[in-house]
Symmetry: C2
Subunit: 289 residues, 2 copies
């Protein structure tokens, strides 16, 4: 046998996996082993620290449920989720941002101009814009799938035990022949990610808050185009510079304008808005289509 030591163990562990040479699985595994070992050597990790890391992961597992994914939260606060969003944004297209835990894939199809605020209190805002390809050609029939928190920072899906309908504040809309979309809703407020578990302890230990900047969630789909999963934020609101999950990008911030300053004659609206946000989405071709 060859003797394993702190320098050759990395090759030994990589060699122990008899994966298909050059496969993606091998690449991911070898990279993981190299970084894990380099980190351990660079930091000179002690047994106590090693046990703390493993206990932390164990505690994350303990608190996790299908509804409460502590590992996704961990990924979020370490910027891993945001980085994956960034790396997978297609050139020229709208930047990607967090999907978050509250998406439902079967929101109701609603007509352009609809109101999804219902009886919720808060500022009523007209959200509108165009969906185009990267050459700015309008995309007709693109599906805008949106969901959001209300003006107290809560998603109706979180309040089902208080009688709220989890499909509230959600809609699927189709762009018209000019690629336009528009609807009214209530302006959402910031909220905190869950911080009653091990990730919350990590945030506290690192003197970090758990607040997310207020946002609207979107998934934009169009045949032949790469789906865009993103969030739209609002100018001059809290936590834009220190969103707890690094979801904010400059290009994703929409300007909120008083409705009185906007010509609303081109919109067929079910409800009169207090304010207006214009935001255009750009889609890139789907390489795999």
């Amino acid at each position: 046998m060859s003797d394993v030591n702190q320098f050759n163990i990395t090759e030994a562990v990589k060699d122990s996996f008899k994966t298909e040479p050059g496969s993606r699985f091998e690449q991911l595994l070898h990279g993981l082993i190299e970084h894990l070992h380099d980190y351990t050597r660079e930091m000179n990790i002690t047994h106590d620290e090693w046990m703390k890391v493993l206990t932390f992961l164990y505690d994350c597992g303990k608190i996790s449920t299908p509804e409460r994914q502590e590992f996704i939260l961990l990924s979020d606060v370490l910027g891993f989720s945001a980085l994956v969003d960034m790396l997978n944004t297609r050139g020229g297209a709208t930047e990607g941002s967090n999907l978050g835990p509250f998406y439902l894939d079967d929101a109701e199809n609603m007509p352009l101009g609809c109101d999804i605020a219902g009886d919720r209190s808060g500022a009523i805002v007209l959200v509108h814009g165009k969906v185009t390809d990267i050459l700015h050609h309008p995309l007709s029939g693109a599906v805008i799938d949106t969901w959001q928190a209300d003006a107290s920072g809560t998603y109706p899906i979180q309040e089902q035990e208080h009688g709220q309908d989890k499909y509230d504040l959600r809609a699927k809309l189709k762009t018209d022949s000019e690629g336009r979309y528009y609807y009214t809703t209530v302006l959402p407020k910031p909220y905190t990610v869950p911080y009653d578990g091990p990730v919350g302890e990590l945030l506290r230990a690192g003197n970090r808050h758990a607040w997310r900047a207020a946002h609207l969630h979107y998934i934009i789909r169009h045949p032949g185009m790469h789906t865009v999963t993103t969030e739209v934020f609002f100018e001059n609101t809290e936590y834009l510079g220190n969103d707890a999950v690094f979801g904010v990008r400059k290009s994703l911030i929409g300007k909120v304008v008083p409705a009185s300053k906007v010509d609303l004659s081109s919109f067929d609206l079910a409800r009169k808005p207090d304010a207006v946000i214009e935001y255009d989405f750009v889609m890139a071709p789907d390489n795999n289509a």
Copy 2:
């Protein structure tokens, strides 16, 4: 606000933690963030791959119990545990190796020459040697805490529902005035780490077996000396070159000699052995003592 992109996000996440500058916590956190982000960028992780990683961790959490620590197992098969053992071995001292999941800190104190095999079948072996400091001075009164599997590869603690006593095949012995220790036991057999969970799936996906080379576990303690946690393996046995958790080091392999070839007159033994293993432990001063 500054715009976050795939290149400056690493600094942004590091800055988000307001830890004590220069503290160990900051060092560990910053290094983790850097390696996690570098890995993500180098691999160009997709959303599918990201979700697979998080689901894997979630599944590890699901199967974990206080008795079944899947994250420790994951650390073991990735060589993380072994590397921490290596980094924390004191210069000149016996190399460290896996603690494993079956240690109990209250094994019975037994006299030198005792037999801990009880009624278990298999080859009876005399294990003996000296405990010294790194200058080879014998250490008198060093406590040898040992535990092991039986000749079918099972720890009694795993067989409690079949009436086995979890304290079987365990003992604490004290070295004599010459630093000597000796006792008889049954020669253990190889066994597999648990592979019915997500880590087992990883091993199968990577065409790896789950077998550990047969070994005896030891914790050696002496006042003023750095505690040695290690394992002793046996020459010419299976899995020395491919132990599933990378616990084997050349320096930890003992030679098994037929008892007929050894002069046993200097040992006061409760039981006649079939074979003899000689292994000396070396302890380094405890820096923190």
